[in-house]
Symmetry: C2
Subunit: 221 residues, 2 copies
Amino acid sequence: MTTRIPVVENILSANDRIADRNRVLLDEKGVYSINIMASPGAGKTSFILKTLEALKGRLKLGVIEGDLATSIDAEKAMAAGLPAVQINTGGGCHLDAVMLADALPALPLSDLDLVLVENVGNLVCPANFQIGTHLNVLIASIPEGDDKPYKYPGMYRGVQVLIINKTDLMPYVTFNMNYFIKGVEALNPDVTIFPVSCKSGEGMDAWAYWITEKVRAGKQG
Amino acid sequence: MTTRIPVVENILSANDRIADRNRVLLDEKGVYSINIMASPGAGKTSFILKTLEALKGRLKLGVIEGDLATSIDAEKAMAAGLPAVQINTGGGCHLDAVMLADALPALPLSDLDLVLVENVGNLVCPANFQIGTHLNVLIASIPEGDDKPYKYPGMYRGVQVLIINKTDLMPYVTFNMNYFIKGVEALNPDVTIFPVSCKSGEGMDAWAYWITEKVRAGKQG
């Protein structure tokens, strides 16, 4: 027996309609945007700060930080000189398009090239909600283990870019890269992968080059 | 303006009534049980396998593995000689009491002293659902970073035991233990903390001794 629950479908499509409006606003302002997802502690905020560093002088960035309760991450971003807005979900396990719609006008969009949205640390719920950004990015991290694509398929399936962070910890943990990549490719053969270390900075140049091209192509498109 | 949504309250209390029944069943069978929560990759399955090793000859264990889709963890547990049941949530972000009620009869409860339930890897949603176990255990891990209690307060508030795993990685990551513990104690001053390394086995003896006492006290209670 299959039971359809139409209420859930309606809520999702309302979210998707707001997501579309967010995208239209971003396109009008000429701003490219990224939804950054990961499990807690994979390094989302560090990745944002390292991206800022790598793009200095090339692109103007803004940040929207999603969190359950605190403003720790927005404060870090502002300390680094980034225009930043904090969204507190009040315990909610993911961002949605309405939250982003409320946050976007608080950024100086006309002055920006790229907005990085840091979702709530969670490998399950954020995968089910489009928020209206142009690109979905997942940050995996080496100490999380090589079985995560197999265990969180929805998240690995729904992204265009996969950052593999904390490569500096490879010598100290058991992580079979072939097994990991095999799992990723089975779910998402077209995903673009960047191995990086936000600690040492290794790999950030390749990502910075790639995203700069993406943003420029978006502006011409 | 505050809006009450009575439907959510009813669903939660239905869950709690089933959780109570699970607890009654476990008590009748003389089985102590633990709900193990953590973010993805903090080491829940490794912790279960190391606990099995540390308790060998002392307590008879069974395992219930919660996951979105695979049976990787249950297979690991069975390979280690543990009676194990896999719950697949079908994409759901946490276990609930009904899932546990369905899984418990599949274990040989009359032969067991302790059932370890591995929840879905997630620091948000599992905190909101009692499943009927006797003890809530959270596994934090060093590479996740020292700000997690501040960012996931609901989870840190709702547990009786906190395992700090991957202490072997302390030399290789930035982790301020004082800042971490300060955050934990502000939310949960009575929590019992065990620093461990599931890789080296360090700290597992203290946990094994403590949980053995707990299980024995439960049987006499």
